[in-house]
């Protein structure tokens, strides 16, 4: 889905961060509410360039959006008081206050990967129970009897259990308005990295234990791994070092 184009017949409005310039002076970064396109076409002065598709199957494309002298009404400034154009005393703190949702978003984006770890270990467990080999005496032995299958499945089950109990605790801490916002930001980054890294390690090993079947699109594991491989750099690093 190319983000800032009308390709899917739905209007789009963006929150655009820009430097507020008043009397030739930089008054810091603020968000502006900017209509991007209606159902059919881009608005005047707004250009969107679709970036090339990424490997994998998810139809999520990125785009480059630029603005050529786009006129905005005074109410486009996202602020409680739209007549206050003063420069912030502490610009970096003000920036993080503006972009405060990034901190929560950091903790939200890894959430589906906890479900994905659970789904992958269930699939690998079921596969190992029904997949058999035949012994010399003709008896069928399910491969779950092998230590090499048991270990990654038991380990990932433990990881999934710990992560899914830990995550709601983190969310409670992030929603606590009394906690220091810097500590909450650090906690969000740690949560994202921890979940994504465990996902990468565990699911890679489970897919390997499913042999050739683990590579099929409909068997989920390869698909979800590709997804994190493509977006992992974005998920793990984006904004983490801005401070």
């Amino acid at each position: 889905m190319p983000a800032s184009t009308p390709a899917f017949g739905i209007p789009k409005v963006a929150l655009v961060m820009a430097r507020l310039i008043v009397d030739m002076e930089d008054r810091g970064c603020r968000f502006f509410i900017v209509p991007i396109c209606n159902e059919h076409e881009m608005y005047r002065g707004v250009t969107s360039i679709r970036l090339p598709p990424r490997s994998g199957t998810s139809p999520l494309d990125f785009s480059i959006t630029s603005f050529d002298h786009v006129h905005l009404p005074p109410s486009a400034l996202l602020a409680s008081d739209i007549s206050n154009f003063s420069a912030p005393e502490r610009p970096l703190d003000a920036w993080w206050d503006e972009a405060g949702r990034i901190k929560l978003g950091t903790a939200v984006v890894p959430a589906p990967f906890i479900s994905a770890i659970k789904a992958a270990v269930y699939i690998a467990g079921k596969y190992s129970i029904h997949r058999c080999l035949t012994r010399k005496d003709g008896k069928h032995i399910p491969i779950i009897t092998f230590r090499t299958q048991q270990w990654p499945i038991a380990h990932t089950t433990a990881v999934a259990t710990v992560l899914s109990n830990w995550y709601p605790v983190v969310i409670d801490q992030l929603m606590d308005n009394k906690a220091d916002h810097r500590v909450k930001h650090a906690l969000a980054v740690i949560t994202k990295c921890t979940i994504c890294r465990y996902f990468q390690r565990c699911v890679r090993e489970l897919a390997e234990r499913c042999g050739a079947q683990g590579t099929f699109e409909h068997n989920f594991m390869a698909r979800v791994q590709v997804w994190l491989a493509r977006f992992g750099p974005l998920y793990i690093s984006a904004y983490s070092t801005t401070t």
Binding site: I21, S58, S66, W227, S240
Partner: protein, 91 residues
């Protein structure tokens, strides 16, 4: 969080930007800016998609140094991308 989300992570990403970043940022101002209710209602119904354009081609991790300008005029603002590297990179 609904486990079905892990079946379509592209859709989840669009929803996360739409709900958590766009609506989440706007809703903070609803008390002082009742005029934003119309937009937030449209977004909540998904009649309009909310985008969050923060980082720029030349400023990803250092988004603090973005270059897009909004210059105050008598009738509002003029939003402008001063050079190619200042174009917004995003979902």
């Amino acid at each position: 969080m609904d486990p079905i989300l892990c079946l379509d992570l592209a859709m989840f990403t669009i929803l996360a930007a739409h709900v958590s970043l766009a609506i989440g940022t706007l809703s903070r101002y609803l008390q002082s800016r009742p005029d934003l209710n119309i937009l937030v209602d449209r977004l909540l119904r998904f009649d309009t998609v909310g985008l969050y354009l923060l980082t720029e081609r030349g400023h990803g991790l250092d988004a603090f140094n973005i270059e897009t300008t909004a210059t105050k005029t008598d009738s509002g603002f003029i939003l402008h991308t001063p050079r190619e590297e200042a174009a917004k990179y995003g979902l």
